[in-house]
Amino acid sequence: MNDWQRKSPLDWETYVNKMVKVAAIEKHEYEGWVLTVDPVSASIVLATFLENEKVSVSVVLGHAVQEVKILKEGDDEMKQRLSCIFAPEESKAYSPEEHEKRKNDLKTWLETNHIPVTEQGESGRTLCVAGVLTIDPPYGPEECSSSNEIILSRVQGLIQGYLEKQQ
């Protein structure tokens, strides 16, 4: 275990949304915006924006990291841009206002049907049903995640029926 792997999650968090240079073993070097650091393997996920609107994502495994140097801070626009990189494909088809409306409509409908639902995550984008299932934008059956298959299939069926009634 190297020094980087021994850091605490609060330490790793300070590198997120910053432009860094990572020196790895065997004289490799990687530069990019830090998207996250995996707490299990201490792997650093870096993003580099290419000219053709594509993003190059590089992951440097924790055991290979020798030194991480912060080059600069990301501004709010960059933070927003970085947080969208791993968003599911479909959510890019709707505007933020449409997402907000879909979310609120679904939340209201769930509450009307006595299903406990809360908002969580960055900027409250994710809905959390009964504390065990999450729904991401654009709030369809495919965007549901849960570790309980029974609840997952039940809620997916409910949402499917709800969306069909909306059409």
Partner: protein, 113 residues
């Protein structure tokens, strides 16, 4: 008829149970971390898992030790960061339809989104 228990060979971490009691993850489970640290751990891990989901199916270049680079299609990663599963791994001996790359052998990997 009782089923025989299949004891797989020891994993690379030396612990055949696959979950090392000295790993930082297990230490965190024992409650050594503060609430804030645990919150940070969860947020970081969630972003990482979304990253893995985004990588799935994309052509990826893996940088291994001794300057070896291989191309493959990203399949999956396991919970303990022991190995990566890839499809269509291009090797000098030909293309392997499916393969496991040990995390200890991989220095870095990258893909385009």
């Amino acid at each position: 008829v009782p089923m025989g228990v299949l004891r797989l060979p020891r994993g690379p971490d030396g612990c055949s149970r696959g979950f090392s009691p000295t790993s930082p993850r297990f230490q965190a489970l024992l409650g050594g971390d503060t609430v804030a640290a645990q919150g940070a751990r969860a947020a970081l891990r969630q972003r990482y898992l979304r990253g893995l989901a985004a990588a799935r199916g994309h052509p990826t270049q893996f940088c291994l030790r001794a300057g070896v680079r291989v191309d493959a299609v990203f399949g999956a990663a396991d919970v303990e960061a022991v190995a990566f599963q890839v499809d269509a791994l291009r090797t000098p001996l030909g293309v392997q339809a499916a393969a496991l790359l040990r995390c200890a052998d991989v220095l870095a990997y990258s893909f385009l989104l």
